[in-house]
């Protein structure tokens, strides 16, 4: 596949084999009453996640950095600062498998627990390691972004100059011991053009790194939405909010 823009010092196109699909999601709890979403649904979702893993899905971004890492499905707990409660990134063998997999999760009971935006696309750039930061970080930062009208109007030279300026900020991110799991391209099926997923030590790291992006005027040519969350097992993030036994009374 061809990337929207060329390689830079920090980023290179994903090499080898077919491009993998990515599934970026944000979900907001909607099981406000007992009986809507139960432990039975949670077990059905976990079963689908196991099937997807067996079909070649990657449900834990840690494995992008370390193929031998624990593959337990993980997501971000985002409710403390965002109107959605969870967010995350999966990877699937193909676009069709990605779309079909989200439908299987929804039908297993996910749609009862969450109002979800599934953003489906393709991996574009290879992962990048921060300096001395090869271990699990515990937190993650997701940046959804699009090229704005000003970028679209700019000349090739202006865009190349901008890319090099942003590379300064990305090198600064790596100095913050941030691991970047490549870049996902979402424009085939969403208004956001890209996602960047970072492993970070905590919310303060995201704030400090983004100040570096502001310094180089990253946001001159892009509009973005940033999501920070603690990385937790999906099995606990999808736990029902209500006791099943009370559902019979509803």
């Amino acid at each position: 596949m061809s990337a929207l823009t060329g390689d830079t010092d920090v980023f290179t196109a994903e090499r080898g084999g077919d491009a993998r699909a990515c599934i970026v999601f944000t979900g907001t709890r909607q099981d406000v009453l007992p009986g809507i979403y139960t432990e039975t649904h949670r077990q059905a979702i976990l079963e689908v996640l196991k099937e997807l893993e067996n079909e070649g899905w990657l449900l834990n971004q840690r494995c992008v950095f370390d193929p031998y890492a624990d593959a337990t499905p993980m997501a971000l707990d985002t409710g403390f600062t965002h109107d959605h409660d969870i967010a995350g990134v999966f990877e699937a063998p193909s676009l069709d498998a990605a779309v079909a997999g989200t439908v299987r999760l929804e039908q297993a009971g996910w749609s009862r627990a969450f109002r979800t935006e599934w953003m489906i696309g393709l991996r574009e750039f290879a992962p990048v390691f921060g300096k001395g930061a090869h271990e699990d970080h515990g937190w993650a930062f997701m940046a959804l972004w699009e090229w704005n009208d000003q970028w679209c109007e700019a000349t090739r030279e202006e865009r190349d100059e901008y890319d090099l300026e942003c590379d300064i900020a990305f090198k600064g991110d790596l100095d913050h011991e941030v691991n970047i799991s490549g870049r996902m391209r979402l424009d085939i099926a969403h208004g956001w053009h890209h996602l960047g997923y970072w492993e970070i030590a905590g919310p303060d790291v995201a704030d400090s790194a983004i100040r570096g992006h502001e310094t180089v005027a990253d946001f001159k040519f892009t509009t973005s939405r940033h999501i920070v969350g603690r990385v937790l097992p999906l099995s606990s993030l999808i736990a029902p909010k209500h006791d099943d036994r009370k559902a019979a009374n509803v």
Binding site: M1, S2, L4, S94, L95, D96, A97, A98, V99, A100, G101, V103, R104, E106, Q107, G109, S111, R112, I120, L122, D149, C152, E153, D187, I188, A189, H190, G191
Partner: protein, 109 residues
């Protein structure tokens, strides 16, 4: 459910509006760009894609038009979009897109 088939029919819904600098492009250049994009669409149709039409929705939406397509698989939809990007379409039109697989028997009920 169609997860066990390799290329289920994929709907691709494309919303668009001109970016501001489109209004400054010379008419001849606009015509050349539109001709390039029409060729991309013809190629998609020749490969099995179907467009049911492009509809004006400015009255109820941030975007000006919506086009509804079906493709033989989401990869084919992606390749069509990529061809439009390479033909500079997304430089001149802001967009949002959706892909979807046909639902058999409605949602989870």
């Amino acid at each position: 459910m169609s997860e066990h088939t390799t290329s289920p029919t994929c709907a691709w819904i494309h919303y668009a509006r001109p970016r501001p600098h489109w209004y400054l492009v010379a008419e001849a250049d606009k015509a050349a760009l539109k001709a390039d994009w029409a060729k991309v669409e013809d190629k998609a149709r020749a490969a099995g894609a179907v467009c049911t039409g492009t509809y004006h929705i400015r009255g109820q939406h941030d975007f000006e038009t919506v086009s509804v397509w079906t493709f033989p698989g989401s990869q084919a939809a992606y390749e069509h979009w990529q061809a439009l990007v390479e033909a500079r379409y997304s430089e001149f039109f802001a967009f949002t897109n959706n892909i979807g697989l046909e639902v058999a028997g409605g949602s989870d009920g």
